[in-house]
Amino acid sequence: MAQITVEEIRRLNYERPLIEKGYANQTLQINLSDSAVVVKPVTEKMKEVFVGGKGFDLWLLWHAVKGTTKWNDPENALCIASGPLGGTSIYPGSGKSLVTSISATTGSVIDSNVGGYFGPYLKFSGFDALEIMGKTKVPSIVFIDGIERRVQILEVAGLPDEAHEITEILTDWFGQGKPRNISVVSTGPGARHTLIGCLNFSWYDLQRSRTRLKQAGRGGIGTVFADKGLRAIVARWDTVTISTNHPADEIALKKVARLHSREIMEQDPKQNHMSSVGTAHLVTIMNDYDLLPVHNYRYGQHDDAPSMGEDVYRRLFDKGFDGCWIGCTLACAHGVRDFVPTSGPYKGKRVFVDGPEYETIAGCGSNLGIFDPLFVVEMNFYCDAYGLDSISVGTSIAFCMECFEMGLISKKETGGIDLFFGNKESALELLHQMARGEGFGKVVGQGVRRMKTIFAEDYGADRALLGDIGMEAKGLEFSEYMSKESLAQQGGYGLALKGPQHDEAWLIFLDMVHNFIPTFEQKAEALHWFPLFRTWFGLCGLCKLPWNDVTPADNKQTKEPAKVMQHVDWYAQYFSAVTGAQVGPDDLIAMSERVYTFQRVFCVKMGFGRREHDAIPYRAMGPVTLEEYESRRERYDTQLREVYGIDIEGKDTAEKVRLLRRLREERYEQLKDAVYARRGWTRDGIPTVATVKRLGIDFPEVLEVLKAHGVE
């Protein structure tokens, strides 16, 4: 293990408050530019309006940045928070950290949620949220020691570059023989050399005696972290019990936690097998329904996809408990032990790989035309070690491969790399180049939006075609689901505040498979309720998976099975038991609506958040190429005839592609109208004054932003 040296730059000794009903009631602000460390109070108003978690992050970030702030300006803040329910040790999925910043790829507000112990340890150390501002030229660590009640900014030397090694070393260094007490936030060299860097959050796996990692992936949050000169943030805390979060009603909490935990233990082995295979169970299901992205989202299915299905990963995953927080019975954070990479700096060495999950399997596997489960494990390992978002890596390389196959770029631009779909060695070489900031990998690491500009302006590629097949919106790469046949999911991606990530709304089965929401109004209602309920988890420090990746045995007999209202009701009880505020399911939605709408106004403040920014590439809506149309000709012909009433007799494929495109693009615009109306926004997608007043977020600075954009 590498030898490191640390030297104190600044220390703050503080009084640690007792946690009261899930809140520490203060936040921590650190400015790396002048080494200032400030403890700020949390007001009752802040709790009432923003609840916690992402809500607190957004409020802190709003005050930190101006509308003109760029991601790499010193005033950009990186905010990390738990939430009032975060750190509960008996309720499944209660250890999430929420991270927000101004994104390196979108230029607007980004948020990401992540497992590991950091958020709870931060809160129990006395801080509901952490706000890191400024920049330092000195490689630095922030150490938050809740046991010794001190915050330190430390200069560090001798740390290795890769995230898993940084984590191991700092866990050992700060753990004082108790590694379980440490959680580390770090990134790797890829974050320094690209715009798609991720953060790794750790916990210590007692059973395996090793550190484990989960990722806050989206929007280049790791790149912001690296740009600030940070090497790591470390939190130290002691034993966690049900009392540590000081719930208002411990008996009620135990009762509802027992119900949910028991149900997961009974139903998960019959349903999705999350505790044994995690989200890998989705691969073959998505493939069978033509929803698994293949060849840069051209197609949704491939005969070789089962070779990366749950049966394969069940064998590869190391057996044992894989909860990324204490007491989680879903325990889906699986990993591969003793994996030996075939390339790069760890070639031939045994490593532990945390993952892969569905998104990495689809993004770095099928979407690249590669169906080798061990290749995906290697991509997963290096993405984490280098601090790179495996979704953006996969979607960006897939885009390059399609451009290469179409002749839009050639070996001249790729530096001699053959980028045909299915080329494993080339994909790995690009990943290593991204980490080193060299060659064509440096270009790929800029993400799809910037690549489109580079390919058009520097390489002379067809800009319109690049726009159709480059799978990004708002500057963020799409996550790994096909949305062509689900208008609601097109909205789920395109209307998501931060960009096309499915954590706001995943409506494909509800819409496409079951056809439960056939009208625009029903889709708009779904695009209101689901993003709001999913937002609520991020306010509280929770994982959404226990909500609907396992369901009660009698759920299908309920009025709206997709909402899993039994669980929603349990979550209301959970919130009441911890905070003491007596709430029902509708109150949870109301909490989210305030924060969600505020985030949209925040996007407007940053120069985004309008109708034009909710555009998606046509590849997300329908077939771009003749080959795509022909591959599902019966489906598209039938739609043109039966849904749109068009006589297609005598029309060639090119004409049918144009007709279908016009109709689908019109439908997407109609969907925007319906969703904006349901959300109380203008036709330009901006929340109205009446809406912000109804929600109680009509602060003068909010009204100012609206006024500046013509909304009074």
Partner: protein, 65 residues
Amino acid sequence: MVRVDGRELEWHEGMTVADLLRGLADLYPYAVVRIDGRVVTAPEFDKAPVPDNAEVSLLHLIAGG
């Protein structure tokens, strides 16, 4: 005999998932079932066999990531 979410049902030679679902008198549009732990999706229901003594779980909801 097969067990469907704990309920015992008669089995017959050549039984497919589609046959089994028809026999349930349950109109819910299942998209995925597990037969002895193995995933079978609706596009395969007509041809996927259900062996005697199978344990069947009906998954009514697929929720995504």
